[in-house]
């Protein structure tokens, strides 16, 4: 029998929400619909819909979506997290046309007109958030899970 560590409400949620506001311009009100969780002994932070109640006694492998594997500023926001809230981002956002989005999904480096911004950014196309990108020296690269690469299945 495996030992399971229970998910608990993440006590630093207000600071985390403030950081998402500063970093990406996501309004705090967006997070009223969500709750953050963590497990003792693990740095990862998870996000669920607000009213999720894990059944008592049920050992879990995952709860909602993984948000960050480490708390900020070290942690990279996961693409699945940004796909939930990145539509509300106003900073560190790159909106790509369809052709460029396809190249991004194929993991090609994309040159962008911004050599000031460094680090993780929200990448979107006309349909919505594509996921997390890494921007350095005006070159944007995909941080999406490799298994999501366009054209593979």
């Amino acid at each position: 029998m495996r030992d399971f560590v229970a998910f608990e409400p993440y006590p630093e949620a207000p600071a985390l929400i403030a950081w998402f506001g500063e970093r990406f311009g996501i309004p705090a009100a967006v997070f009223a619909d969500f709750a953050f969780w963590h497990r003792a002994g693990s740095p990862a932070i998870w996000m669920t819909a607000a009213a999720v109640t894990p059944p008592p006694g049920l050992g879990l492998e995952a709860l909602g979506v993984m948000t960050l594997r480490k708390p900020p500023p070290a942690g990279k926001p996961t693409s699945i997290f940004l796909m939930k809230v990145g539509a509300h981002a106003t900073r560190r956002v790159f909106d790509l046309d369809d052709a460029t989005a396809a190249r991004f999904l194929a993991r090609e480096p994309i040159s962008v007109d911004d050599t000031e911004t460094y680090g993780h950014v929200v990448v979107r196309d006309a349909l919505g958030v594509l996921g997390c990108g890494m921007l350095a020296d005006g070159v944007l690269v995909s941080e999406l899970p490799r298994s999501w690469t366009l054209g593979e299945g």
Partner: protein, 307 residues
């Protein structure tokens, strides 16, 4: 092809359950159409449907199910933007009905006991509008990655993923409003899927999997609150794995309810006697889907009310 040489000749075991066994066998070797449903958790349904019709000109609506589309068998959509972004999910058309029959509502507590790879769990989360609590469980640790990938890709945030034997799922009894037991089976209804092996079922395997099915359904019943709903589903025709499993639940705990069959979907009722065995009378309220009736895979589904 003469009847005797048909590669699925062993499916003649079900000749007295089906209207035309030869048509049934011929349909069972034809490749399945691809079916995708639109995921409202990723964006407005109309926008995604417009994108689907633009990218896949061959897409045709499933006649009995809103927001589900048939694509030709040979269309590759797995690497498409719509798939990767979780805007659509590819699922066997017959299985889609089982997920719908759970009837999950926003804010409820729902469990899918054998959830990998996650299509029906995601369908349930959509019905719940991503509110409430969904437990998506699967016994196989190796299948959890696929389950989590589905829920992540489709933007489900109300799911708790667990890895336990459904028969002993350690959640409180009576905790759930609805439980789906879409159990492992001999998969006799999946011969139209790619890479099907057409191998006749080993009856010793059937006998062992029936015990797994009965244990899972009994646990599903225990986990459901009085008045709650249990959906039992398999992708096989065999009465032993279907009506026979319903029969193994204490009749004082559940009734098998009549199903609302959507217009345009053809099913046959459950049976109450077969091959010398008799099953509970309300098993007639269950339903079988045959490949040649709706151009789908084969499926069995029953909805039970917890007393």
């Amino acid at each position: 092809m003469s009847a005797a040489s048909h590669p699925l000749d062993w499916l003649r075991r079900y000749a007295d359950l089906v209207d035309d066994v030869d048509v049934f066998l011929e349909a069972s070797v034809r490749p399945l159409p691809r079916v995708v449903w639109i995921n409202p958790l990723r964006g407005p349904v109309e926008v995604t449907e417009a994108a689907l019709r633009r990218d896949f000109l061959e897409a045709r609506p499933v006649p009995w199910r809103p927001h589900a589309w048939r694509l030709p068998t040979d269309v590759s959509f797995a690497g498409s933007r719509l798939h990767l972004g979780g805007f659509v999910y590819g699922q066997e058309e017959a299985a889609l009905w089982a997920g719908d029959l759970v009837g999950a509502q926003p804010g409820e507590r729902v469990a899918d006991l054998c959830a990998a790879p996650g299509g029906k769990a995601a369908q349930i989360a959509v019905a719940m509008q991503d509110r409430g609590t969904l437990v998506a469980n699967d016994r196989k640790l190796g299948r959890l990655a696929a389950l989590r990938r589905t829920l992540d890709r489709l933007g489900v945030t109300n799911a708790a993923v667990s890895c336990h034997d459904a028969a002993v799922l350690p959640a409180p009894e009576g905790w759930f409003d609805r439980v789906l037991a879409d159990v492992p089976c001999t998969c006799e209804g999946t011969t139209r899927k790619p890479r099907s092996r057409y191998q006749a079922t080993d009856e010793r395997y059937r006998a062992s999997i029936v015990q797994v099915q009965k244990a899972a359904l009994r646990r599903a019943v225990k986990l459901t609150r009085p008045g709650g709903t249990i959906v039992y589903a398999t992708c096989t025709y065999a009465p032993e794995e279907n009506e026979g499993v319903l029969d193994a639940v204490d009749p004082s705990l559940v009734t098998v309810e009549p199903l609302d069959v959507p217009p345009g979907l053809r099913v046959t009722p459950g049976i109450t006697a077969w091959d010398g065995r008799h099953y509970r009378p309300d098993a007639a309220n269950a339903a079988r889907l045959w490949p040649h009736h709706n151009d789908t895979g084969g499926f069995f589904v029953a909805r039970l009310r917890r007393l």
